[in-house]
């Protein structure tokens, strides 16, 4: 088997296992990454929401915010895990297409 085939299989395994990145932090009651808090969290930490932060925080409406479907925020871990796996697949598809496009633009043929 070609090494690239093996690596793609490895990636697929990582995609299937990716919900561990959701489930394990939940189990250990770990919160957001440092400096990646939402408005409510930051208010609890420092007592106020910085004005500029409040203005800029909603600047971008990501189609799949935080690797979960809109309206699924209150769903349980099984649904969130499914959304996480789908997010991983969608993300990888976009990334691979982008790199192939960049590659076509940058790399000369026959090199």
């Amino acid at each position: 088997m070609k090494i690239t085939t093996k690596l793609w299989i490895g990636l697929a395994v990582l995609v299937v296992l990716s919900p561990l990145g959701l489930i394990i932090p939940d189990h250990f009651k770990a919160g957001s990454a440092w400096g990646e808090w939402g408005g409510d969290e930051i208010k609890a930490l420092v007592g106020y929401v910085p004005q500029g932060l409040e203005k800029l925080a909603g600047l971008w409406n990501a189609p799949i915010p935080d690797y979960a479907f809109k309206g699924w925020e209150a769903k349980g871990l099984p649904q969130l895990s499914l959304a996480y796996v789908i997010s991983a697949i969608v993300g990888i598809l976009f990334i691979v297409l982008t790199v192939i496009l960049v590659g076509k633009l940058l790399v000369k043929k026959g090199g």
Partner: protein, 226 residues
């Protein structure tokens, strides 16, 4: 380490976009010269790997979470400039599709994770594995150390960027406008987490994959020109 929108003021965001622009330009030129057609799939796999490994959040029990970036690995395999492009692609997709890292902070996040991290990692790896065969145990160890140091230096940069904000932007009453924590909190927090936990994750991931490739595909491990 994905700085969201609203944590960095406009000046900081602008500066890092301005800094990244020439870096992206140079990276494109160098990759254009050095990357071969058959390496494009590896570049795609590298970018996808970096993306998916960042989804594996590792908890500090009762505290925060963090993750590896996988960027040093890509730098060892394809050189730091190709890694810069691969990780940039991953970070831009994360910001646009998933809101992971801010749109305004793409410059800063790319500087930390797509520039500082792969370059530091790449040169540390080369310094330690200098004059040893790519298949040696020392090379795998060098990869782990490079991963650890690369992600930590990147985290310190992120900490400094966060920590400068209260100084740069505050109301007359002294309330911060953006990130509310100064250097005295942000740098130790970012550095501490990565030194103690997430740096080791990056180290293990980098060393294990290099070890696997040493067995399976040693020809991919020949030294890459910077």
């Amino acid at each position: 380490m994905h700085i969201p929108d609203g944590y960095l003021g406009p000046a900081t965001c602008g500066i890092f976009y301005a800094v990244m622009l020439p870096i992206w330009t140079i990276a494109s030129r160098i990759v254009k010269k050095t990357l071969q057609v058959k390496q494009v799939p590896i570049l795609a796999i590298g970018a996808a790997f970096s993306f998916v490994i960042m989804m594996f959040n590792v908890p500090i029990p009762g505290g925060s979470t963090g993750h590896a970036v996988g960027g040093v690995l890509v730098a060892i395999l394809l050189g730091p400039w190709a890694a810069c492009i691969a990780i940039t692609v991953a970070l831009v997709i994360q910001a646009l599709l998933f809101g992971d890292g801010g749109i305004t902070a793409i410059g800063a996040n790319c500087f930390n994770m797509a520039f500082v991290l792969p370059f530091v990692g790449y040169y540390v790896y080369n310094a330690i594995s200098f004059n040893t065969p790519a298949e040696s145990g020392r090379s795998a160890l060098a990869a782990g150390i490079a991963g650890y140091i690369g992600i930590n230096i990147a985290a310190i940069f992120a900490g400094v960027e966060f920590g400068l904000q209260p100084m740069l932007h505050h109301t007359a009453a002294g309330q911060a406008l953006y990130c509310p924590y100064g250097l005295n909190v942000a740098v130790p927090a970012m550095a501490g987490e990565h030194l103690l936990v997430f740096g080791w994750v990056e180290a293990v991931v980098t060393a294990l994959v290099i070890k696997y490739l040493q067995k399976q595909a040693p020809d991919y491990l020949q030294a890459k020109e910077a």
